[in-house]
């Protein structure tokens, strides 16, 4: 028996898809609030420009490129799933997971450097924001990668291919969040 999320579409779209859009809606409030609060503090504290000068633009740029590329793989996985090619969809999902791991490794290197140079979450409010925003985002990357692994496992057998689109929407949203975090944390100096 298929789950309700697959078979029911009381709102005009499959319930699983509706649920993912609801998650995205709640995430808009979480990340939107974080980014808006950051922006307000940044505009009212000139010293933050000095703190932001310590972030590494090159690393931020590479990580943005990695996430954009992983989003490409996610949408190609969706395209393959629509054509019923589960194996291809699973392969693209694995590439997306590779992007997530790459992003996390770069982020780990970056944080290691910053923490070892005295810039920790307790240094001041700028760094509190920096680690909170990037940390919450990274936790979403980890969650997305784990869910994608589960979806890819089934997709490789041609099962539950509709889930490929669902995890894709979540992943693209994680990408959108980073698109806004990047100029705030790495470029506005």
């Amino acid at each position: 028996m298929k789950p309700v999320a697959t078979t029911r579409s009381a709102a005009g779209i499959p319930t699983g898809l509706l649920a993912v859009w609801w998650i995205v809606a709640s995430e808009i409030v979480i990340f939107g609030g974080l980014l808006a609060a950051y922006l307000m503090y940044r505009l009212s504290h000139d010293a933050w420009a000095g703190h932001a000068a310590n972030t590494n633009t090159a690393i931020g740029t590479v990580n943005t490129f990695v996430l954009l590329t992983s989003s490409l793989f996610a949408v190609l996985a969706h395209q393959a799933a629509e054509k019923g090619d589960g194996k291809k969809a699973a392969r693209f999902l694995l590439f997306t997971i590779g992007g997530a791991l790459c992003f996390l490794m770069i982020k780990g290197y970056e944080w290691n450097y910053e923490i070892s140079h005295g810039m920790t979450i307790t240094t001041n409010t700028f760094w509190s924001f920096y680690y909170t925003a990037a940390g919450i985002h990274a936790s979403h990357v980890i969650a997305g990668a784990i869910i994608m692994a589960v979806v890819a496992k089934d997709a490789a057998k041609g099962l539950e291919l509709q889930r490929v689109e669902l995890i894709g929407i979540y992943w693209h949203f994680v990408d959108v969040v980073w698109i806004f975090l990047f100029p705030l944390l790495y470029i506005a100096k």
Binding site: A53, T61, V75, H117, N124, F182, I187, K189
Partner: protein, 125 residues
């Protein structure tokens, strides 16, 4: 459904290439250190990139209209809540309180960190 089918034949690699070019511009623009160019290239382009991802990768346009309304409603309410607290955020002091941040000094970049300015150390205590 046929519309959706057409949409998903989009050349995604081309869209990705556009996003990468936009990323390059958003990094190069602020290097000129001209405020309005920085605002347009860094933040203006961020909105363009986000719009492309939402429309072309997330296919928000394919979803029923109410999905877009839900997203916009969440965004508007979030901004209302933030606006409600903005007046406090922008004040540095009030009755029986003041912000420690208002006493902050400029913290020099890492390279100059050991030159005895000590701003970061002072702030951490």
């Amino acid at each position: 459904m046929s519309e959706e089918h057409e949409e998903h034949h989009t050349n995604y690699v081309k869209i990705w290439a556009i996003l990468v070019v936009l990323l390059a511009i958003s990094v190069a623009g602020p290097e000129l250190e001209i405020l309005w160019i920085t605002l347009i290239t860094a933040f203006g382009i961020a909105f363009v990139k986000a719009y492309i991802v939402v429309q072309k990768f997330m296919h928000l346009g394919d979803a029923p209209k109410f999905v877009t309304y839900v997203m916009v409603t969440c965004l508007v309410f979030m901004m209302l809540f933030i606006a409600g607290t903005a007046s406090d955020i922008y004040k540095s002091n009030g009755e029986n309180w003041y912000k420690i941040e208002s006493e902050w000094q400029y913290m020099p970049p890492v390279a100059q960190h050991d030159e005895g300015h000590g701003a970061a150390d002072e702030e951490s205590h």
